[in-house]
């Protein structure tokens, strides 16, 4: 276990104005699972881009040694040839092509000038067996779930005879089952001699799977820890990552006072013409003033659909049932109507449908409530800057100015811009869909603190989350959704991870 397969020595990588990596050293032993952790912006992705040749030799200083031999990659093809494969968070598969075409894309099995499709399908089947994925190689990628697509990516890497497999937050988009399955597979691959580098924000899974953990902070190697010597625990990791101890990941809220029911759905059903099936069945659900209601459930269980169906139904579901808002029966036909009534929805995919990345912070914050800064439809740009600066201060958005383009901000700060945008519509009910996905520990804590502050001011929050600990740590009451139904409702005192998991897979 001690022969290093990879040595990265004194890697320094500079961007205009920033030292992204500062003399980073990183050693990976043959046949181990090595986790790389650190807050967003710590330099993990940059380091892996140096390793995989995305930043070619010469654009950084320092040495890369693979099995003792110095490497000079001019591009990603060179590193692939050397046996380094990287699987990004955003999957790089082509949805309209089949599984076997994707696995051998760019690495086609030839018979003379032609592609040997029969051999390709056969070999693809073998690769799928290796990753324990039971799908037909001729299925199209777009028909597979995210978890299965991830496995296809790994199969693709294996088909190229990979020595060093790098996974960048592979479980970020997976539910607990698929995550467990993936981790299990990585252990299997390790036993077959594949060395693995895993970047992850989920410390639980790091602790579960890592042989060794390297912590990066602010572009520097902080510590390499050996799990087999008991050096790895959540507190230690968090301490090294943030450089301080966080006593409690979920801040306490002291005066819990719940008022009347603000939003309630009764016998709520939704049929999606696009999918061709009923996606929500007999939902009964409510949230009170000053309450955080958690909605737990696996991905695809109907959590996001429930939020959308109440929030003006932009996807055009056919809805049966009754919705009560502040005691009145309402039906919102467009998001505008829901917003005007006092409901805000922070989407789970901030880049996809939350923010306008090319616009600046102030334009994003005011977008859903331009009326408030306009007179007779003419925008008062000074008022706009003022409003944006208020949210910049109160939410601690780290940006040089509110005229910074949001695409340039880190994930945590982008999420705060989303929050600011929806707080500016002055809602009574705030729906948060995966409020802390893909953001670092420090920013998470800030978001939780903001949530507590809001409910203390009398807001109601509906929090949809895949992270069980987050649901347990933040909610006052938990609904569990499975296959379009509410399978359980638990007061927080009775909720445990096991109970929720049981109901979610019911």
């Amino acid at each position: 276990m001690n022969t290093p397969i990879l040595e990265m020595r004194d890697i320094t990588k500079e961007f205009p104005g920033v030292k992204a990596l500062n003399n980073v050293s990183f050693h990976v032993a043959e046949g181990e699972i090595h986790c790389l952790v650190g807050e967003n912006g710590a330099g993990k992705s940059t380091l892996m881009k140096v390793l995989s040749g995305v930043y070619p030799h010469g654009t950084y200083s320092g040495d890369i040694l693979l099995r003792g031999k110095e490497q000079h990659y001019r591009g990603i093809r060179d590193s692939e040839k050397a046996g380094v494969a990287i699987i990004y968070q955003e999957l790089a598969l082509i949805p309209e092509l089949t599984v076997y075409e994707n696995i051998f894309l760019g690495n086609e099995i030839r018979n003379g000038p032609l592609v040997d499709w029969n051999e390709t399908i056969k070999r693809a089947g073998e690769m799928l067996d290796k990753v324990r994925l039971k799908v037909n190689p001729t299925a199209k990628i777009r028909d597979l779930g995210v978890g299965k697509q991830q496995l296809v990516e790994i199969a693709k890497a294996l088909s190229r005879d990979v020595k060093l497999l790098i996974l960048d937050e592979p479980t970020a988009a997976l539910n607990e089952d698929d995550s467990a399955n993936l981790l299990d597979l990585l252990r299997g691959l390790r036993d077959q001699g594949v060395t693995c580098i895993l970047i992850s924000h989920k410390l639980k899974e790091v602790i579960e799977i890592a042989d060794t953990v390297t912590v990066l902070r602010d572009g520097q190697t902080i510590r390499t820890l050996d799990a087999h010597k008991g050096e790895v625990s959540e507190n230690i990791l968090i301490k090294h990552m943030v450089g301080r101890e966080i006593e409690n990941v979920y801040p306490r809220r002291n005066n819990k006072q719940f008022g009347d029911v603000v939003l309630e759905a009764r016998n709520w059903n939704a049929y999606s013409p696009a999918v061709g099936r009923t996606i929500l069945r007999d939902i009964n659900f409510n949230v009170r003033r000053g309450e955080i209601v958690g909605i737990a459930g696996l991905m695809g269980s109907g959590r996001t659909e429930l939020a959308l169906s109440m929030f003006g139904n932009p996807a055009g579901y056919q809805i049966k049932g009754e919705l009560f808002f502040k005691g009145q029966k309402r039906l919102f036909r467009q998001p505008r109507e829901a917003i005007d009534a006092g409901i805000a929805y922070v989407t789970e995919d901030r880049k996809g449908n939350g923010l306008i990345l090319m616009q600046d912070v102030k334009e994003n914050i005011t977008l859903a409530n331009l009326r408030a800064i306009a007179q007779r439809s003419i925008i008062d740009s000074n008022a706009e800057i003022k409003v944006a600066n208020e949210y910049k201060t109160s939410l601690n958005i780290k940006t040089p100015s509110v005229e910074q383009v949001v695409g340039n901000l880190s994930g945590g700060n982008q999420q705060k811009v989303c929050l600011g945008k929806w707080l500016f519509v002055k809602p009574d009910v705030l729906i948060l869909d995966e409020p802390t996905r893909g953001i670092d520990v420090g920013a998470k804590y800030e978001i939780y603190t903001i949530m507590n502050r809001l409910v203390e001011q009398g807001l109601s929050i509906i929090m949809i989350s895949s992270e069980l600990l987050e649901v347990l740590g933040m909610s006052d009451r938990v609904y569990i959704v499975s296959a379009g139904r509410i399978t359980g409702e638990l007061p927080i005192e009775e909720a445990t991870q096991e109970k929720i998991m049981h109901l979610a897979t019911n």
Binding site: R336, D360, L367, R371, A374, S377, I379, I385, S401
Partner: protein, 406 residues
Amino acid sequence: MSVQKMQSVLQPRTFVENLQRVLRQNIREYGMYIALFVIMAIFAITTKGTFVSSRNLSNLLNQTGYIAVLAVGMTLVIVIRQIDLSVGFLAGFLGAVAAIALSRWGLPVIVVVLLVLALGALAGLLTAFPVAKLGIPSFVASLAGWLIYRGALQLVTEGSGTIIIADEAFNALGNGFIPDIPNIGILAEVHKLTLLLGIVAIVSFMLSEMNGRRKKLAYNFEVLPRELFVLKLLFVAVVVGAITWILANYNGISWTVVIMLAVVGVYHFITTQTVLGRHIYAVGGNPDAAELSGISVKRIIYMVFGSMGLLSALSGILFAARLTSASTTAGTLFELDAIAAAYVGGVSAAGGVGRVTGSIIGALVMTSLINGMNLMGVGISYQYIVRGAVLAAAVIFDVYTRRASR
């Protein structure tokens, strides 16, 4: 955007440092103005001054008019990630409708203009319908319009061929100039109303800029350093003053220029200052996020295509008035000239980015090339090649500077 970026000049620096900084940060936007200036300078030399003569510049602006108004509309269409190919023949067809309404039906000019504009807006909404309602790509929907309006144009001009327009008031829209104030003894040889308007424009620009700066300072927001601010005011004053002086030495400002300036003014105001404008750019930047922010994407599509149709009608009127007739081929390739002008003016095909003022500069660049090369006697085949090269260069420059600014 320029003003916002300029504001980021924070710390006290020397004048030259500030100037360099502001120029570097706004290179994309200034690039267009510089390119226009360079092209004009080259033509001024190669034509021994003919290009910048009062008569030719006045003519150049009138030539730009009917493409410029299309380019303004097209900018917004491209900003919301759509395209409209039907505008050229729609303009041609509506120009013919105007000619028929004037010469055969004998309708008064004002009625004809309003009728044609209304028809244009309606045609735009028709193009928008399959796009907004059924999600059909606008390339296809507007290609259908291209064929239909081309056929319609031929249909109405088939029997008579070119339709001559005799109405002088109508033709003045394309050829006429604003009247002058009566001779008061001084400056007898120049167009005094034009000069007066130029001075009013310069003064009101300065006042509004100073007022804006004062308000920003009152809020403690960042502003351009004082010397640069003065330099900017002087620069604009000199340019506007020079153009005014040149035009005043010929026949003054034409009605086409008045219309063009009005259209740019209104659209610039809508896109930069109003809620509607912000909604248009939001839909272009991220339609899903816009929808979830309570913006009706469909409504924006209808509005933008409706405005495009309206401006096509205006373009058709200007073109017919300029030629004092409607021909069977009027409007051919206008749509591509407008699209080219929009791209030269910095609009992005990815959506959400592009300014109407940029498109006007783009239209001026493209017309200057045609006008200048005609004066030089360059053959039409070479003209197309040069225009293509300039379009490619402009887009490459745009993409390059956009990347560099990241």
